[in-house]
């Protein structure tokens, strides 16, 4: 922070809900200022007489603060810096805290620096869609044009470092969710709470009370203030009520699911990993009350963007809630009674009201009278048609208007002022109701869109429904709360609360006014802004219509109306009205546009929650995981599992390690952690019949003690999963699945049993996690096992290949399977996982004398490839049949039941002989290893596009064979043994290889049978 805090020139001597004993120092655009506790950044800036807070997006015009909340289009700032900077926050929604540092976004050096204004001068060259009409030639230059366009666009900047803060979520359930804690919302919450319902009430502001917080503390309002205090006290005391301040309900989703963003730590300036910066409340509500209030609508006149033009309600808010006078000489410009309050508040605050300019011919009624009693000059039948000044307001041009305010009917004159509080009436905040799909309804009486017919369990109350009288808001809210509670099963719908005794103000009807006439036609008048953030003018909308962009969506998209970060909260309705007028049709016929979440911008990190970093996705460990970690395992992610890919010993790189592991298995003995394989226990009288239907090969005659390899197909005949199934006992089987396929296979089995064959008595239970599996494989495997197992006859004739036995291994109850994925003599030892690491270590100890070597998935891949064993998902891709994999032996020809996938296999396309088939490839240079994924052609010299014959699915250097080997799928490959094919690589080389059988090692398969 630089310089010393300057005085708060515009701070009123008294009043406001601020703590004047708590001065707070902050800085804006590098200049130090002082505000008070209770200020927002906006109110503090106004207190310090900061008029220009931004430069506009397209024309680089100076802009000031217009509103006081979520609707603010101009005061968009970059908060903080470094990793914790936040772009595009609204100054009107930032609670002031000590040391706050903010900068204008978009602006170049300084918002007061006028160079950018040159761009503004070219404004006439930038009608809507000008970029669709230019920058087309020469074609190759677009990327250059684009770079400049992109630089000019965009508001704030994202951080360049990872977010140091954390976010979390709460899953909430309630009977009644009340959105908004203004008069209607509080009344609703109170009645609902008294009925005993579980209530959540959320409000985006730091204090509850909504509009009541800005109410002037006069006699009439004392009772209101009292009511507020008492209501909040009662709600706080209710155990069935959760009150969420600083909590924006930003989305209303299907089946009454609402998302709330709670801001928890920014205003406290704490940042700790254990305290979430923001919290997402995921609320499932039985009933919802939308008391979201309304936003005042600005009036559209020439140069209405000059700093000093504000919303009337915002002027009141700054005066009453923050004790700030955003100017000295006020003009209130209105077409309704409501805005007179701004003049009255201003006057009461001891400030000078130049005049109230009212477009209605002879305004009358209570507030008008009050204003006149205070000697405020009320000019009826007039409108402000142009604001004067550049960086700050210097006056207003007013003109007499005809009855419907569409034409100027007399001479214009100037009024001296530095603040215009304008009001075109109110727009109910129907965003959330609109999220549900309810179609907004235009009301000529309310001159605004009202919530559409409810689709979800929700109802609107108060200003959100176009009800603006305070008294009606109270009662409407109370009724809505009671009704919601009743529908949720609490109370009988009668209102148990009383509303404060305040006198009812009768208002005169407002005038529907969306665009002020000017002495010049719209196309030639000074800019009349509709959407301040995106610099969309009335002329732009007229032009869009003229060019044929007549539907609201076309006009919006062509002009960018409503696409800003305020989502057109101020501009949309004026814009739609101007379009309607241009097309000569009603607003209702022109229609609104659907609001989408988020109501206000919502932090990515909060929506992501804690599921980032290590917790992004569950990581699954086997029982031996820690042993692997302690012994230098390098990991491979297989689905959610972490499996050792290889174990690195000192001075080894992957290649050495894999070679060592492979040779150990082939020549001595190795051990693999195979625990991740899916395992499903299958029991029931019809288990065999079921397996016989689900597998492509036969399973009716599998005897206890025996295992069989099987392949599962989808109904289209394509391979889906494979694995060994063992018969444990009569009507009792254990199915192994691939590691990645476990969950899908279980769902698949349940699907067929539950939906197609409920008559089959069979139950499936996942036992994947129960068993830890150590695969001992290699010539010495039997010797190793013999040292730790004495109750299984390991003799090769007693315990054959594809048998399994029950027994004890290292004193632990175990199931041992003689199945092999390496082609070597193998025993898969399964024990209850509690004993996994112990048995693993015992086997290692026993194997020490044979130099038993733990190996990982990489060696496993090489070893199985040497044997031509396929891996689902690597050698297949969902478009491969058993025949394609040269595995017709696994397809039963004459089952009584037409197994899953059988019919698919007989379709024309599956019968073609030019399908890709699994073959082996031997590069002509034995040391050359083909890259996996290399494409195969017959003639590498042919022109592009080349005729591709297939691709390499698996490729390794086989240490045992001393050469490279590869598996590939090649069109008609099984008929092409001996052919030489070519793999043209990215680097220009083309590798020649011979098509061979897919079994490279021990073709007769003798080693696994010893």
């Amino acid at each position: 922070m630089s310089g010393s805090a300057v005085v708060q020139a515009r701070r009123l001597p008294a009043g406001g809900r601020i703590n004047r004993d708590q001065p707070i120092r902050f800085s804006f655009n590098g200049i130090a200022y002082q505000g008070f506790e209770g200020d927002t950044l906006a109110s503090a800036l106004l207190a310090n007489n900061v008029n220009v807070v931004a430069r506009s997006f397209k024309y680089a015009r100076p802009r000031g603060i217009v509103g006081h909340g979520a609707e603010e289009p101009n005061a968009i700032v970059q908060l903080g810096h470094g990793a914790q900077t936040v772009p595009n926050l609204r100054a009107t929604q930032i609670e002031l805290y000590a040391g706050l540092q903010a900068r204008s976004v978009g602006a170049g050096l300084s918002v007061n620096f006028d160079l950018m204004a040159l761009v503004g001068a070219c404004g006439r060259l930038m009608p809507p869609g000008f970029y669709y009409k230019t920058f087309m030639r020469p074609q190759k230059l677009w990327m250059t044009y684009e770079r400049f366009i992109r630089k000019a666009a965009g508001l704030g900047s994202a951080a360049a470092e990872p977010d140091p803060d954390s976010y979390d979520k709460l899953n909430q359930h309630c009977d009644v969710l009340v959105v908004g804690a203004g008069p209607a919302g509080l009344a609703a919450a109170l009645t609902a709470a008294r009925s005993g319902a579980r209530v959540i009430i959320a409000d985006e502001q730091n204090q509850f009370g909504g509009s009541l917080l800005a109410a002037r503390p006069t006699i009439g309002h004392q009772t209101v203030a009292l009511w507020l205090t008492k209501t909040l006290a009662e709600l706080h005391a209710c155990s069935n009520v959760e009150m969420l301040a600083r909590s924006t309900v930003f989305g209303y989703y299907d089946h009454n699911f609402l998302a709330i963003l709670e801001r928890r730590s920014d205003h406290l300036r704490i940042s700790s990993p254990s305290v979430a910066r923001q919290r997402l409340h995921r609320v499932r509500a039985k009933q919802v009350v939308l008391a979201t209030g309304a936003i005042e609508r600005p009036l559209v006149f020439a140069n209405n963007d000059v700093p000093g033009v504000m919303l009337a309600s915002s002027v009141s808010t700054y005066v009453n809630r923050y004790g700030v006078a955003p100017g000295t000489k006020l003009i209130v410009f209105t077409c309704n009674d409501n805005a007179y309050q701004a003049a009255i508040d201003w006057h009461q605050a001891g400030q000078h009201v130049v005049a109230i300019v009212d477009t209605r011919c002879n305004p009358s009624g209570v507030v008008v009278a009050t204003a006149k009693e205070l000697n405020i000059d009320v000019i009826g039948g007039h409108g402000v048609i142009e604001a004067l000044g550049k960086k700050c307001l210097q006056g207003a041009v007013i003109a007499p208007l005809n009855a419907d305010a569409t034409a100027i009917v007399g001479a214009t004159r100037q009024l001296d002022c530095d603040l215009i509080a304008c009001s075109g009436g109110w727009s109910p905040v129907i965003h959330l109701s609109s999220h549900t799909g309810a179609k907004p309804q235009w009301s000529d009486a309310k001159v605004g869109f009202l919530p559409g017919e409810s689709i979800q369990q929700e109802r609107s109350a108060g200003a959100a429904k176009g009800t603006y009288s305070l008294l009606d808001c109270f009662s409407e809210g109370a009724y809505a709360g009671a009704r919601a509670a009743q529908l949720a099963g609490f109370g009988n719908g009668t209102v148990s609360t009383t509303t404060p005794p305040i006198e009812e103000l009768t208002e005169q009807p407002q005038q529907a006014l969306f665009l002020l006439p000017h002495v010049k036609p719209v196309s030639r008048a000074p800019k009349q802004f509709v959407d301040l953030q995106l610099d969309v003018t009335a002329a732009a909308i007229e032009l869009a219509a003229r060019e044929g962009y007549e539907s609201v969506e076309h006009a919006k998209r062509y002009t960018a109306l409503g696409f800003g970060t305020d989502q057109g909260k101020l501009g949309n309705i004026n814009g739609i009205a101007i379009l309607a007028n241009t097309l000569g049709q009603s607003i209702a016929a022109t229609g609104t546009t659907i609001f989408r979440p988020a109501y206000t911008p919502t932090t990515f990190g909060a929506i992501a929650g804690r599921d980032v970093g290590d917790l992004f996705d569950p990581v699954r460990y086997t029982a031996m995981h820690r042993w692997h970690t302690e012994h230098g395992a390098e990991w491979e992610n297989v689905g959610q599992w972490q499996r050792p890919r290889y174990y690195c010993q000192p001075f080894e790189v992957m290649h050495d390690a894999v070679k060592r592991e492979c040779l150990a298995v082939r020549n001595k003995v190795g051990m693999l952690d195979a625990s991740t394989l899916g395992k499903i226990d299958i029991q029931g009288r019809d288990a065999a019949e079921f397996l016989n239907r689900i597998y492509s090969n036969g399973f009716l005659k599998l005897a206890p003690g025996k295992c069989r390899y099987g392949v599962m197909l989808k109904e289209d005949g394509m391979i889906f999963d494979d694995g060994v199934t063992a018969c444990l006992a009569e009507n009792h089987y254990l199915m192994f699945t691939t590691t990645g396929g476990a969950a899908a296979v279980l769902a698949w089995l349940e699907l067929w049993q539950q939906t197609e064959w409920p008559e089959l008595d069979v139950f499936f239970t996942s036992v994947t996690d129960h068993w830890a599996t150590a695969t001992v494989t290699g010539p010495n495997a039997r010797k190793v096992l013999a040292l730790v197992c004495d109750d299984i006859d390991l003799d090769k004739d007693a315990f054959k290949f594809m048998d399994w036995r029950d027994g004890t291994v290292a004193g632990v109850q175990a199931r041992v399977f003689r199945i092999s994925f390496t082609g070597e003599l193998s025993f898969e030892v399964n024990v209850a996982a509690h004993y996994g690491r112990y048995v693993w270590e015992q086997l290692l100890a026993a194997g020490a004398e044979f130099e038993i070597t733990p190996y990982g998935t990489e060696a496993m891949h090489v070893l199985r490839a040497e044997k031509g064993f396929i891996i689902i998902g690597q050698d297949t891709d969902g478009s491969m049949t058993p025949a394609d994999m040269n595995m017709n032996w696994v397809v039963a020809k004459n089952k009584s039941f037409n197994f899953i996938g059988q019919r698919g296999l007989t379709r024309a396309a599956c019968q073609r002989c030019d399908r890709k088939q699994l073959v082996g490839l031997k590069t002509l240079q034995p040391e050359t290893v083909l890259p996996e994924g290399a494409q195969i052609v017959n003639d590498p010299a042919q022109a592009i596009p080349m005729k591709m014959q297939g691709h390499v699915t698996s490729s390794y250097f086989s240490a045992s064979l001393g050469r490279s080997i590869a598996l590939a799928v090649v069109k008609g490959g099984l008929q092409r043994m001996g052919d030489v094919v070519h793999c043209p690589l990215a680097d220009g080389r083309s590798v020649a290889a011979e098509i061979v059988g897919s079994v490279f090692y021990d073709p007769k398969g003798e080693r696994q049978n010893v």
Partner: protein, 99 residues
């Protein structure tokens, strides 16, 4: 964010506990081998995909692991009923009539 009643757990649960397995009441032909490629293709791939009432199958994967059927409006997403496999839907409204 759907709230789906599982007819076995007998309570409404968050959508994230379930997975949708497509159109309901598509039973496997009893005699696949007798079907033409055309008929088999229809069974495998062709779906009603209505705009309006849709009978679809869901799997309570994070709950009781049961499959069951749901009648849901594919425009409003409103769920009219959940019913067990084998049961017939109560709401028979032809899909086309609702939008």
């Amino acid at each position: 964010m759907l709230l789906i009643t599982c007819p076995y757990c007998e309570e409404a649960r968050d959508e994230t506990e379930f997975s949708c397995s497509g159109e309901a009441h598509i039973s496997r032909p009893k005699n696949p081998e007798e079907l033409s490629d055309e008929q088999w293709g229809d069974y495998l791939y062709f779906r009603t995909n209505p705009r309006g009432l849709h009978h679809e199958m869901w799997y309570h994967v994070a709950g009781c692991r049961r499959y069951f059927n749901v009648t849901r409006d594919t425009v409003s997403y409103a769920i009219l009923e959940s019913y067990r496999i084998g049961a017939e839907p109560g709401s028979k409204t032809p899909a086309s009539c609702s939008t």
